[in-house]
């Protein structure tokens, strides 16, 4: 996969001198290896001061940054699109000293953006982490990267070392590898893991912002979100808003994969058309059934609708989709959408951390029912059974995993209704035997990797 700096649809410059157009995050991204601290400062300028002389000044600056982020309208890039400033305010108003966790667990199998940031632009992420740490009064930053992102971990470790030489009153920064399974990046799972437990979600409340790592108020931010903070602190909210839509300002990293000349990580403006993104990736090399948008908790958009799709949550809502963590996956017409859905449903059932009964049993039953349809062995009233299982599964776990999985399954059934009906009547098609197109990391949630108390520091 490649990293590309691309795509301006309607830059709408308003006469500001600061560069409003794309690329923003990916400006100067090296083809290999990471930007050094020196190169990073040469491109973006030094980190704006967060701590002035005296506590009063520091406090004022901190409040200013949170206000600026609020005005920028920055939404979290981990998938939930939660307003970043609201989260920061909640942590800042807690009494105890806070901790900042950088979430680069990136459990989404088709997403590459966070590991790309760690690998190529670690200082942009660190800038953001140090800035929010100052703003919420944290003296410690913990960077959590997926254990499978070897290069990202190495390059982030080097970046932290580079910083250690220069730092004066900066927060301490640690780097942690977290298990490579789908749910490990969920906020409470990550906090639980950092506290020495398994990387499994916990029952809330308390939410991490109330009581997180070592019972301290904990701000968990996605790595890309923090990279945006690093730029907002330098150029301001109105600069940030020059791209994107009023309700979803700014740019986003999107991992685009499927039958394309040049799949990879692209920076787009929110609201850019999917067609322009595909064009930037050299165009598609095969006809497609459709696009899966938002990853494995996301939704399908049928092939014939793809030309009209704009990549903002407001627009995608009309298709029942959202951008999630910025995953766009095209499925070629060579693949069988029914067989792919059956495999994904089984994989998602396997990614349950097996803590909540409805998730364990519901996802397993759903996967079985889909497999039966794919194999042409259909029980009576399979459609009704799926509807009932979906309502028994979604919303009944401690985390959002069952909800996301159900969303994907229902979306596939709706989008590929004809193909499912065909399989139910006639059994497997010629394309069913083709190798899977949608990525599924082989490693299941092994008890070993999640039991906790692993050597971590």
């Amino acid at each position: 996969m490649s990293v590309n700096s691309t795509l301006t649809e309607s830059p709408a410059p308003t006469g500001q001198p600061a560069p409003a157009a794309l690329p923003r995050l990916l400006v100067g991204v090296p083809l290999r290896g990471a930007l050094s601290l020196e190169e990073h400062i040469a491109i973006h300028g030094p980190l704006p001061a967060t701590s002035g002389r005296g506590r009063r000044r520091a406090r004022e600056r901190a409040a200013l940054l949170i206000d600026e982020i609020e005005r920028s309208g920055l939404l979290g890039h981990g998938g939930a699109a939660f307003p970043t400033a609201t989260k920061m305010q909640a942590v800042a108003s807690a009494r105890r000293r806070a901790i900042v966790v950088v979430n680069a667990a990136e459990g989404e199998p088709a997403s590459r953006k966070d590991r790309t940031l760690l690998e190529r632009l670690p200082h942009l992420v660190l800038d953001g982490a140090i800035l929010v740490a100052g703003a919420v009064g944290a003296d410690e930053v913990i960077v959590c990267a997926c254990e499978s992102a070897k290069e990202g971990i190495e390059s982030m470790a080097r970046a932290i070392e580079e910083r250690a030489v220069a730092a004066e009153r900066a927060p301490r920064v640690h780097l942690n590898a977290v298990p490579n399974h789908y749910v490990a990046g969920q906020e409470s799972a990550m906090v639980n893991y950092l506290n020495g437990g398994p990387a499994k979600p916990t029952f809330t409340p308390p939410l991490p912002f109330e009581q997180g790592v070592r019972r301290r108020p904990t701000l968990v931010n996605n790595a890309e979100t923090l990279a945006h903070v690093a730029l907002i602190a330098r150029h301001g909210a109105s600069w940030f808003r020059q791209l994107g839509t009023p309700s979803q300002p700014g740019s986003a990293l999107v991992t685009l994969s499927g039958p394309l000349a040049d799949p990879g990580v692209y920076e787009i403006e929110h609201g850019a058309s999917l067609a322009s993104l595909i064009k930037a990736a050299g165009g598609s090399t095969a006809r497609t059934h459709g696009a899966l948008i938002g990853g494995y908790a996301g939704s399908w958009v049928a092939g014939e609708l793809l030309n009209g799709v704009a990549l903002s949550n407001e627009h995608l809502a009309a298709h029942g989709a959202s951008l999630g963590a910025g995953v766009v996956l095209l499925l070629s017409e060579r693949a069988c959408p029914v067989a792919e859905t059956a495999r994904i449903a089984r994989w998602l059932a396997g990614q349950s951390t097996r803590q909540c009964g409805p998730c364990v049993h519901g996802l397993d039953a759903l996967a079985t029912t889909i497999e039966e349809i794919a194999g042409g062995v259909v029980q009576a009233q399979a459609g009704q059974r799926i509807g009932r299982l979906a309502s028994l599964t979604a919303g009944r776990g401690a985390c959002g995993h069952p909800d996301g999985a159900v969303n994907l399954i229902l979306s596939a059934l709706e989008t590929f209704e004809a193909e499912f009906a065909e399989h139910a009547r006639h059994g497997p098609c010629d394309r069913c035997a083709r190798p899977p197109e949608l990525p599924m990391p082989a490693r299941p949630v092994s008890q070993e990797s999640t039991r906790g108390m692993l050597a971590r520091r």
């Binding site: 807690a94 409805p358 009944r396 776990g397």
Partner: protein, 81 residues
């Protein structure tokens, strides 16, 4: 004073006591896990709900009075938003 019943799905092991003791609010799904009506309990149901919560072998049923969240304040007491 709105009381609500809620299940901790991680702690729940599908013993089913809650559905026996609070059938007005709780039914069981096909695997034996409770489906809880999360709307505010009526006054006469509160005592029954608390009895059901105490009877749960894994303490997975929770009955709590609603709390209104305090207004967001800055780190040092200044108002935000």
């Amino acid at each position: 004073m709105n009381h609500r019943a809620r299940v901790n799905p991680i702690a729940c092991e599908a013993h089913g006591m809650c559905a026996e003791l609070l059938p007005e609010r709780i039914t069981l799904d096909e695997w034996g896990y409770p489906i809880v009506d999360g709307t505010p309990l009526q006054d006469w149901q509160v005592a029954h709900a608390i009895r059901a919560a105490r009877a749960c072998p894994t303490f997975a049923l929770l009955v709590a009075r609603e709390r209104t969240p305090p207004p967001l304040r800055g780190r040092h007491g200044e108002r935000r938003g």
